[in-house]
Amino acid sequence: MKQPRRAGRSLFSGTGLFWAPLLALAIVGCGGKEEQRGAPATDKLVLGAYTVPKEAYEKEIIPAFQRLWFERTGRKVVFEQSYEASGAQARAVVEGFEADVVALSLEGDVDKITDAGLITHDWKDGPSRGIITRSVVVIGFRPGNPKNIRSWEDITGPDVDVLYPNPKTSGGAMWCVNAIYGAGLKMSEAATGRADSAQARELLMGVQRRVKVMDKSGRESVTTFERGIGDAIVTYENEALLRRLQGREFPFVVPEATILIENPAAMVDRNVEKHGVRELAGAFVEFLHSDEAQRAFARYGFRPVSPAVMLEFAEKYPTPPMVFDISYLGGWTSVREALYGPDGVWTKVTQELATEER
């Protein structure tokens, strides 16, 4: 009889009051635990993805996989889904967010998880080298194309306001700057037979000079553009196509020279071991490469990696004549330093532009 009473009193004594906020935090922290007690025939998979393909996963990929898994094993699978900016998602997994499968915007973000020792298998093994979707960087403009935008040079003019996300705050946004810089290299190479970094720098500077707003993510940049700000936006083809899918008008042009965006997905070994879902996670990653999933991605605006499915969608996704991938720029590690490092081209260009009169 005495025990509970004492416990009750201590809660209101000094030390009890002191611990109360911690207790409150602990209770808040435990909020999600209840869900784990599901029916026995249920598996759970934690997906940590970047924000852009959210619609494709929610509406098509996950339901289709749930059907497949049920047919194959007679078990239900529930997904715990988290969508974050790619870099933030990678960081979260490194810091302890227990995602079984990650689907991110760029290879470098998966490398962060590998470097932390959480992915131990060779995730780039396989015909598409761990890549599940592709896209290209495009230029969006206003309906009717009042500023007559067809190429990168057209968005360097004095009467054009340009938007693109900040490559410092969004890993995905680096694709946009990479596309412009690489296009400069490609075009000079086509003209003179030699890739000229000075010309590439000139093009990047010309576009950056016209940039009015740098939002912190690609999605936000599109939202700002749709709010009526700017004449042109450098964005991803899949973002533009998604807007069209939602019934909105979003005219864009695929420049002749642009970068091929490649988005990877991988199983996180440490977490699947902990959760005992290696087989399930492996099946899901495999499913992402299947023609069924590839078709779903293609419907949502992503370029499929499966050659067969790419053929089916050839009309929707024409291949730009001077398309290049990240290896043309020397790979991610080199790009990070050469473009965004303290002496990187983009860093220096923004510094030079700051001293110009506006």
Partner: protein, 276 residues
């Protein structure tokens, strides 16, 4: 009997209270700040210095301080006036107006940013009118000041209000019967008693403005070396895997706030000593 009871409990309870107070501050404020500091210096001082002296970092710090300074000037004058208006004047809907003051604290800061974009952005009627006159508000520096004003709005008003309420009207009347003009009464009688409260409000607004991210990132345009403030720079450094760069600037923001708050404390202590 009453007395002895009180004395016996004072020692015990005071000790517990002190423990709670210190523990609370320590656990929820000091500990995270110490962790931040420790991480910032972990890479060594030269590395921290190198990160801090990048042109982008220095510029963002300078811009943040200038924007916060502009906000303070407006906030101090207008906040004091607003408090005066609310305390000394009767008008319809005064209760409602009074309740509105605290509302900026309850609105998520990115909603604040969005609201400002919708209201003053280039596409809005106010925005297009202003830009026709050559004034850019959103995606330019005035937008930053607007956002900071909104998120710090309650500080000065709420600091000044109670002091105004307590102010002895007799002294003012005495001053004016002795021939002081209205301006003189304000300057010589009212302002000195309000000053500590105004300073408190100003210092709190300043500290708050140094760290403001959510609303500013929406309205500033965020072009490095043009419109990028320190918290947005910090966010960028974290996102691009350079925590040292982020921590260096954060430490400067933190020390800046601390210095302002300590200075304020000293000023108030000085003022109190003069009163005695």
């Amino acid at each position: 009997m009453n007395r002895s009871w009180r004395r016996r409990t004072t020692d015990g309870s005071q000790l517990t209270l002190r423990g709670i107070g210190l523990g609370y501050i320590g656990l929820f404020v000091a500990l995270p700040i110490i962790a931040l500091g420790a991480r910032a210096f972990a890479g060594g001082l030269p590395r921290l210095w190198e990160n801090l002296t990048q042109p982008e970092a220095l510029f963002s710090l300078r811009l943040t301080v200038i924007m916060a300074g502009a906000m303070i000037l407006i906030n101090v004058v207008m906040g004091t006036l607003t408090a005066w208006f609310l305390v000394r004047h009767r008008f319809p809907l005064r209760g409602l107006m009074n309740a509105l003051i605290d509302l900026p604290f309850a609105i998520p800061t990115n909603v604040t940013g969005l609201m400002l974009v919708v209201l003053y952005g280039p596409q809005s009627s106010i925005g297009s009118f202003l830009s026709a006159g050559g004034v850019e508000v959103i995606y330019a520096k005035p937008g930053i000041v607007l956002a900071l004003l909104f998120v710090t709005f309650p500080f000065v008003v709420r600091a000044v209000q109670p002091v105004l309420l307590e102010l002895d009207r007799d002294v003012e009347e005495a001053a004016s019967t002795l021939g002081a003009g209205r301006l003189a009464v304000f300057r010589k009688v009212i302002l000195p008693s309000l000053l500590p409260a105004i300073l408190t409000g100003a210092a709190l607004s300043f500290s708050r403005a140094l760290g403001e991210f959510g609303s500013v990132v929406m309205v500033a345009g965020n072009i490095p070396l043009r419109t990028q403030v320190a918290p947005v720079f910090v966010y960028g450094e974290i996102e691009s895997d350079n925590p040292e760069g982020a921590l260096g600037v954060s430490v400067v923001l933190l020390v800046g706030s601390l210095v302002v708050l300590i200075l304020l404390n000293l000023l108030q202590r000085l003022g109190r000593r003069q009163d005695e």
